[in-house]
């Protein structure tokens, strides 16, 4: 991995219009995705991870908008592109895989038509035969017989449909694939195979993958780095191993402790106290402070910036990691 940054999100703010005023689903998030890596983006439902993924493609629902921030993809400022230019980025440079493969394919369109349509949208001079050839190559690589291309989506299993979604993302050699909960609706065995496949594809097609998931186990299995979101903000970002071994943010720690583990002989599963805050009225200071077992005075009044942790480029938004504080304590 070169460490070159492929996609950089800078201070992104996404607001939804609600009856009671604007709701900031993503509030000042910055995230760098390095070329060739698999980055796991985790957090609870409603923490803004899916909104972040959609915002990165500028595909927000009508009642949401990017209020602030920069989206830099491969040296290009996506915010400055016209809708038409952006359309060519979607599917051409950045592919997306959705949560529910059962509903993400058009029920009255054959699989092959999904793929050729995508290819011809971005390469208008590609012939039907070329598109077909590419489609056959892709599905066979993904372990689907090529004659299934003439089937309708309902004739395929869930795992096959999810592989078709991947084929669609690969149809034009996208650099980045944003996978939004791609395994949530698959059973465990299919999920494991699918994750293996993703890793192989990453190497084979030089992909960069942003894997959005609420399942920290998926991240452990497949990701190189992990980004943890909480209540619209980034809590912690770092390489998977140090983050899992020694979480720098109490929220990450809580998430990891909540994963059931048969190997450990614990009677009860750890449960984080409380629930995520109402984003219309987020708590002052650190948004995690009402649930945090280590809450300090400063946490209630001041929002923590990102502090470097673990040495190798990891960061965490927690006052516990404030180098100043450590120094003052040791004094």
């Amino acid at each position: 991995m070169s460490g070159e940054i492929l996609y950089s999100v800078r201070d992104l703010v996404v607001e939804y219009d609600t009856r009671t005023g604007p709701l900031r689903a993503v509030d000042g998030v910055s995230l760098d995705i390095r070329r060739g890596e698999i980055l796991g983006l985790v957090g609870e439902s409603g923490c803004g991870k899916s909104t972040l993924g959609k915002a990165m493609m500028r595909l927000l629902p009508r009642n949401a908008r990017i209020a602030k921030g920069e989206l830099l993809f491969d040296g290009q400022d996506l915010m400055s592109l016209s809708e038409e230019q952006m359309r060519h980025v979607r599917g051409g440079k950045i592919g997306m895989v959705f949560q529910d493969p059962m509903t993400s394919l058009n029920p009255v369109q054959r699989i092959i038509d999904h793929i050729t349509e995508t290819i011809k949208t971005h390469k208008p001079d590609a012939s039907d035969d070329e598109a077909r050839e590419r489609a056959e190559f892709l599905v066979e690589r993904l372990g689907i017989r090529k004659d299934r291309l003439d089937d309708y989506p309902h004739q395929l299993s869930g795992g096959m449909r999810q592989r078709v979604m991947i084929a669609l993302a690969l149809a034009l050699n996208c650099d980045l694939v944003i996978a939004d909960e791609p395994t949530t609706s698959l059973d465990v065995i299919v999920e494991a195979k699918f994750l293996d496949l993703l890793r192989d594809l990453r190497d084979e097609f030089n992909l960069t993958i942003l894997m959005i998931t609420h399942n920290i186990g998926v991240v452990a299995e497949v990701a190189d780095r992990v980004a943890v979101m909480y209540a619209g903000e980034m809590a912690e970002v770092g390489d998977v191993h140090p983050v899992f071994a020694e979480p720098a943010h109490p929220y990450t720690e809580g998430l990891l402790k909540s994963v059931p583990n048969i190997a450990l002989d614990e009677e009860e599963l750890y449960q984080m106290k409380g629930g995520p805050p109402n984003l219309l009225h987020p708590p002052a200071g650190c948004r995690f402070n009402p649930r945090c077992p280590y809450v300090m005075d400063i946490c209630v009044s001041q929002d923590p910036p990102m502090f470097p942790v673990h040495g190798g480029g990891g960061v965490a938004a927690c006052w516990l990691r404030d180098p100043e504080r450590k120094r003052s304590e040791s004094d």
Binding site: T103, V108, T118, L168
Partner: protein, 365 residues
């Protein structure tokens, strides 16, 4: 050959074609569905025929009174009842009626020359067809296009405008809309003729083949007659079509809005597919499925609307004939019209139903 029969052959052949296609290529489940559907059509028509039979006899008045007037000579009345077969017990009359249905000879009319009903309908049905086909095209094509436009631009000025238009048009009584269109476009502006099917002057020069004037003038290359027939057609077809257009607009709009929220639309956008392609290929095709089913149901409303439209525009079709014969209490004529309507509607809905199960790949019986 009786031209009514000809008409049913013309409609029956494609229906039969689709049925055979479904039976040959379809799965056993589809075959069973089609056969059940066909089998159900027959009792449906019988029930309708029976209801009309009963209702006509429950209505006050009878063909004798309507011909001779309330003060007719009792002996003459009696003789006429004999002659018309009204002296027979009611079950015998019912038996006769059903018999006439199965032989497709609808009996003789009881009034106005006592001509065979099948012949009278044969002369008039083409006029009705010529009216409802363009009306259906106006309603379906116009409604679907406008509905898609409204649905894809939800909450825009276009959407609000089209929605108001659809409610207004749907709420208008057919005959009133017809009168208003006559007043504006025929009387005030003089663009189109007020009533009738064709200019009487060119009418004589037109050789009749199918009695569909547009078709006949095309076949025989009579351009004067074609122009006149088309000009006469515009207002009645627009009247009848506009009434239904509102319904199709609404239905399409709702379905387009719904399909545009589907995951596969979001997925298509994420692949950079053009918005126009998304709306017209992805969303509309899926939104069309319930709309197609609805077309079958609307044929009945189209015929009901034709009755009023024909009356307003003096259109010599079956609808006007029906109104006239209800007034005369011409039992056989009314029974004949209703039976023909029932067969027509059930054939179309059968056709639509089978086409639907072929079009939607997910429908598997």
């Amino acid at each position: 050959m009786n031209s009514l029969l000809l008409l049913f052959v013309a409609l029956g052949v494609p229906t039969l074609g689709v049925l055979v296609y479904a039976l040959v290529t379809g799965s056993p489940g589809l075959r069973r569905h089609v056969l059940t559907r066909v089998a159900l059509t027959i009792p449906m028509i019988l029930i309708l025929a029976t209801v009309v039979f009963v209702v006509l006899r429950v209505l006050p008045g009878d063909p004798v009174t309507s011909s001779l007037g309330p003060r007719g000579n009792p002996e003459v009345r009696e003789a006429m009842r004999d002659q018309l077969g009204l002296d027979l017990p009611i079950w015998a009359q019912y038996g006769r009626y059903l018999g006439s249905l199965f032989t497709f000879d609808l009996g003789n009319a009881l009034t106005s020359g006592r001509r065979p009903v099948a012949v009278e309908l044969g002369e008039r049905f083409p006029a009705t067809i010529e009216l409802i086909v363009p009306a259906a095209i106006v309603a379906v094509v116009g409604g679907i296009l406008a509905g898609t436009l409204a649905g894809s631009r939800r909450k825009s000025a276009t959407d609000y405008g089209l929605r108001m238009f659809s409610v207004a048009i749907y709420a208008m009584p057919v005959f009133w809309l017809g009168l208003i269109l006559q007043l504006i476009f025929a009387v005030q502006l003089g663009w189109f003729p007020v009533a009738g099917r064709i200019d009487p002057i060119v009418s004589g020069s037109l050789e009749r083949v199918t009695n569909l004037l547009v078709v006949d003038s095309l076949i025989t290359g009579n351009w004067a007659a074609l122009g006149s027939a088309l000009r006469h057609l515009v207002l009645p077809a627009a009247t009848l079509g506009l009434i239904l257009l509102g319904v199709f607009l609404r239905l399409t709009r709702v379905n387009v809005i719904e399909t545009l929220q589907e995951d596969y639309v979001a997925a298509a956008r994420a692949r950079g597919i053009k918005e126009g392609v998304i709306v017209y290929r992805h969303a509309l095709r899926n939104a069309m499925i319930p709309v197609i089913t609805f077309i079958g149901l609307q044929v009945a409303i189209l015929l009901a609307g034709a009755v009023l439209t024909e009356t307003v525009f003096s259109w010599p079709g079956v609808g006007r004939y029906l109104v006239e014969r209800i007034g005369l209490r011409d039992y056989t004529a009314v029974q004949g019209v209703v039976a023909v309507f029932a067969i027509f509607v059930s054939m179309i809905s059968l056709l639509v139903d089978v086409v639907y199960s072929i079009v939607d790949p997910r429908v598997r019986y």
